[in-house]
């Protein structure tokens, strides 16, 4: 038992108790009544009263009861408390895990782990010491941090319980994986430093010191980075474990789609599934494309296994030592178009505590095949190299035909134009018209930064950038060029040299705002290169490289992990940008000057749709006047889906045992009970008084 304000109570007692007794000696103002005779009354009173002053206090039950009431009230003023396990004088940091696994509905009472965590946290807040009513003791302070992969301060250190409870109750579950480290760092960053004067015997040590905090962690213990978490030496970590250790959960842990290079219309979809159930499970798997169920397959998932032996008394090994059973499914589809792919796992009859990992989404772009125009007087090597590529369209022009088509505006439909030893006239621009070009045997004029100084000496390719997409994996050291070209690159040019002969630059990469080109300065026909296999490979890689959107997405570019930031670039001039979350709420976004948008961290799993008014790329969906670009957010986290709650938590080598929420200790206030007792005794006093009067 501790007393918050013992001195106040003592002073109040010293004043109140004698006052009460003195009141009993005071004469009452009595009501006057005329009676026939006072003979018998006087005698009765004399019989009853003794002469000594303290005799009248003897056996006076009313006084006794009033003293009891007073005592209860005085003890209440002292604010006694029973000692709980929460150390005194600490600041409390309430860390609430809101990651995907906390949505598991296996907490006590059938609620989700997060709801149970919030309930326990509110209980903790209720038990915090409030500001002492009379004394100068400070109230306990607490801070609320919600964390998944990122941490967020929901409430700064405060003693205001209503604010704390509101902050706790406002925490919503997310679909993100969990990471404790950032949360603890955030908590320690917000901790105010305090100057303490410590007295150690005769010596007074003065110094800046951080007071320890009580860190209350409400989680299921599935914290992958717990080992990295470093708490303060004086910090006391209390880990309240929510959920059951052997919770069975089925989850989709991988969802990928790939197209083969040689047949881009064939789509292969990989789906990974895991089960933490200790029995074999059968489940149904649905593949949904654009809202229509395309395939259904029945899956058998092997049981979770463990290497640890079963103990002698038959208890299974602790849940941390079990490995979930996994299986994978492959679907092959003939699908040149893109689409919004979703997969849904129907867990059948068995238990499945976590729902949000049973679904995953993927935005699959259409198979990319380029339209290429080649402007040539008739280069056999080039045309046959292009004809061997899986192109959507290949059109051969002579320079005159190309100019005519260009005037008709037909050339804009080609992804890449291959210019063979010919350059289009610049027109009203000082250089080439906008577009993407693979230029062979010509150098575009200044002011792009390169100057063609005419034919040069024979040379050999001696150096090239092996990491450039157009030159990746090529071996060019046996390419001999009979006539190189002398090229001079300006100092601040948009051109980078990606291959050189011993005479100077040979292959250039030009990237400006509206013009991209890979320029082979020498004419391949003047070299041995067309005889080597590296030539058609170069043509193919260069076309692919040029054909890419600047914002080109790979097959997983439109996927985002919950907890991370969604960034993308919209076409310039996009207006009225908004993102629609899976729960159908719309949030307006403001794009940056270059069309970049940022949203996040992503909290929900599902399809996030970014819409805007303005230009759209071919991969975007037209929605009336607006364009729509979907993003898929799926959990796909085997660790997060391993839903069994940990029985202990190891923080940087320090093990923290889990507390069962039903047996956690909190400070209990005694003074309300004492006041209640005072009220009760007062009622008893009233009852006794009335009995005394009415007989």
């Amino acid at each position: 038992m501790t007393w918050l304000t013992p001195l106040v109570a003592a002073v109040a007692a010293a004043i109140a108790v004698p006052s009460l007794i003195i009141l009993y000696f005071l004469k009452l103002r009595r009501r006057e009544v005329e009676v026939s005779t006072t003979l018998l009354w006087r005698k009765a009173v004399q019989d009853l009263q003794a002469n000594a002053p303290f005799q009248r206090l003897r056996r006076n039950i009313l006084l006794l009861l009033q003293l009891l009431v007073l005592a209860a009230a005085l003890v209440a003023v002292g604010q006694p408390e029973m000692e709980g396990k929460v150390p005194r004088g600490l600041q409390h940091v309430i860390l609430i895990d809101r990651s995907a696994s906390m949505s598991s509905a296996d907490a006590e009472g059938g609620v989700s782990r997060l709801d149970a965590a919030k309930r326990e946290a509110v209980r903790l807040v209720d038990s915090l010491r409030g500001e002492s009513l009379i004394g100068s003791d400070r109230a306990d302070e607490a801070m609320v941090i919600a964390f998944d992969q990122t941490a967020e301060v929901r409430q700064q250190f405060t003693g205001d319980k209503a604010a704390l409870k509101a902050a706790i109750n406002a925490i919503e579950p997310t679909a993100a994986p969990s990471s404790l480290d950032e949360a603890v760092r955030l908590a320690r960053a917000h901790l105010p430093d305090q100057t303490l004067v410590e007295e150690t015997g005769a010596v007074t040590v003065e110094g800046l010191k951080t007071r320890g905090v009580a860190i209350h962690l409400f989680s299921d213990g599935r914290l992958r980075d717990a080992q990295r978490v470093l708490t303060g030496v004086e910090d006391k970590v209390r880990f309240t474990r929510l959920g059951t250790p052997d919770a069975a959960n089925l989850a989709v842990t991988a969802f990928r789609a790939e197209r083969t290079y040689d047949n881009p219309t064939e789509l292969t979809v990989f789906i990974g599934i895991q089960s933490t159930d200790r029995a074999e499970r059968r489940a149904e798997l649905e593949l949904i494309i654009d809202g229509v169920v395309e395939r259904i397959r029945s899956v058998t998932i092997p049981p979770a296994t463990t290497d640890a032996p079963t103990l002698e008394d038959g208890t299974p090994p602790p849940p941390d030592l079990w490995r979930p059973g996994t299986t994978s499914i492959v679907f092959r589809l003939e699908r040149p178009d893109g689409g919004l792919f979703a997969v849904r796992l129907l867990p059948g009859d068995g238990p499945d505590v976590l729902d949000i990992d049973n679904r995953a989404w993927l935005v699959v772009p259409p198979a990319r095949q380029l339209s290429v125009a080649v402007v040539t007087e008739g280069s056999l090597f080039l045309v046959s190299a292009l004809q061997g590529l899986p192109l959507a369209k290949l059109v051969q022009y002579t320079p005159d035909e190309y100019l005519a088509a260009s005037r008709r505006g037909e050339t804009g439909a080609y992804d890449v134009v291959v210019l063979d030893a010919w350059l289009p006239p610049p027109g009203d621009r000082p250089t080439m018209p906008p577009g993407r070009y693979l230029v062979l045997g010509a150098v575009p004029p200044l002011p792009l930064g390169a100057a063609d100084l005419g034919p040069g000496e024979p040379g050999i390719l001696i150096d090239w950038r092996r990491d450039h997409p157009a030159l990746r994996g090529l071996v060019l050291d046996n390419v001999v060029v009979s006539t190189t070209r002398n090229v001079e690159i300006g100092p601040e040019s948009a051109i980078t040299v990606i291959a050189e002969t011993d005479r100077g630059p040979a292959i250039l990469d030009l990237a400006s705002a509206d013009l991209r080109a890979v320029i082979v300065a020498f004419n391949p026909a003047d070299s041995y290169w067309p005889f080597y296999v590296s030539f058609p490979v170069f043509i193919a890689q260069a076309l692919n490289y040029l054909g890419q959107d600047p914002s080109h997405l790979g097959l997983d570019a439109r996927s985002v992990r919950p907890g991370s930031i969604l960034t993308d670039r919209l076409p310039q001039g996009a207006a009225e940008v908004a993102i629609r979350l899976p729960d159908r709420t719309e949030i307006p976004l403001t794009p940056a000057a270059d069309g970049r948008i940022v949203y996040g961290p992503v909290r929900q799993a599902g399809v996030h749709e970014v819409t805007w008014r303005g230009e759209r790329t071919p991969a975007d969906i037209a929605l009336g006047a607006r364009a729509l670009r979907p993003f898929a957010a799926s959990l796909l986290d085997p660790e997060e889906s391993d839903a069994g709650a940990s029985s202990s938590l190891s923080l940087a080598g320090v093990d923290v045992a889990a507390l069962d929420p039903s047996r956690s200790n909190v400070n209990r206030r005694l003074w309300p009970w004492l006041l209640l007792a005072a009220l009760g005794v007062m009622m008893l006093e009233w009852f006794v008084y009335n009995r005394k009067v009415q007989v």
Partner: protein, 321 residues
């Protein structure tokens, strides 16, 4: 116990005795366990051998006897002289003493009105049976603005007023008028009053003393004085129901209506218990005192019906028959 608010003050005989009660008490008569010498030949049998028509006994003639009472028939048969003795009949004196002190103006029903009614009924019974009826109201009237205890030097006889020698039905209204004129005021001086009554008495008879007997000066001397003169004394102690079962509560200052004496009490269960014990002890003491002196005591509540009191309680105790 508390002073009655707006007590009933009877103005005529009808308010004291209703006709139903009159018809019921008309058959009663006052009786005495003792036979007293009356002044006038009355309707009452006397211990004396007298001149009534009712034969009592014979006795041998002695010189000096009235020759008119010799039984000549016996002389003719036996040749000896015998006197015929007859029962004497004489009247009986009924003296009703009413305590007129302020303490009787209390209770619900009012004690004094009850005593007035009882006195009237007794007086009526006495009158219609040709007894000599006398009534005395005792008490010390309060000086205006002054309680009796504050003027102890003012001598007083203790008797407020009295009527004497009433006889016959005709005097009923006179008696009623006297009773109606009484007012319960002031204190009491029972020993002095008893002395006066005893000294001024004419003839022996039945005396009914009606009071609550809460005399601070004591009732013993007074009763002894009344008893000493040979009266057949009958005490009627009238208590209000509230005196028996107090219905007061709280912190009170009790003021005696007679002498303004004050007592501060806090009503509580032990106090009430003590009060009742004291009352019982007081009444018991009075009863013992009376029993020792051959005084009949009857304690009644002021809410007792008058006919029950007369026809039942008083008959049973031999005051009426």
């Amino acid at each position: 116990m508390l002073r009655t608010e707006n007590p009933k003050r009877p103005a005529s005989l009808d308010e004291l005795l209703d006709s139903r009660l009159i018809s019921r008490v008309s058959r009663l008569d006052v009786t005495s366990r003792k036979m007293f010498t009356g002044k006038l030949k009355g309707e009452r049998r006397s211990k004396k051998r007298g001149e009534s028509v009712e034969f009592a006994d014979h006795r041998p003639y002695v010189v000096g006897d009235d020759l008119r009472h010799i039984d000549w028939n016996i002389f003719g048969r036996l040749d000896r002289l015998f006197l015929k003795l007859f029962l004497e009949e004489e009247d009986l004196c009924l003296h009703v003493v009413v305590d007129c002190s302020a303490s009787h103006d209390c209770g619900q029903p009012n004690k004094f009105f009850f005593m007035q009614q009882t006195a009237m009924a007794l007086g009526y019974v006495g009158l219609i049976n040709y007894n000599r009826v006398a009534m005395s109201a005792i008490g010390t009237p309060a000086a205006p603005g002054m309680s009796p205890s504050e003027s102890p030097d003012v001598p007083h006889t203790g008797i407020v007023s009295a009527v004497r020698d009433l006889r016959g039905r005709r005097r009923t209204h006179e008696l009623a008028a006297w009773l109606c004129s009484l007012r319960p005021e002031g204190g009491s001086n029972f020993p002095e009053a008893a002395k006066r009554i005893a000294l001024s008495r004419r003839g022996k008879g039945v005396m009914v003393v009606m009071s609550d007997f809460f005399f601070k000066e004591g009732y013993e001397t007074g009763l002894r004085l009344l008893m000493g003169r040979g009266y057949d004394v009958f005490c009627l102690q009238v208590l209000s129901p509230q005196e028996l079962e107090p219905d007061i509560a709280g912190d009170l200052r009790l003021r005696d209506v007679e002498d303004a004496d004050a007592a501060e009490i806090t009503v509580s269960a032990p106090l009430l218990k003590r009060y009742k014990a004291n009352l019982a002890a007081y009444c018991d003491q009075l009863r013992t005192f009376c029993a020792r002196r051959d005084i009949t005591l009857l304690t009644v509540r002021s809410d007792t019906p008058i006919d029950v009191l007369l026809l039942d309680y008083m008959r049973r105790r031999g005051v009426l028959r």
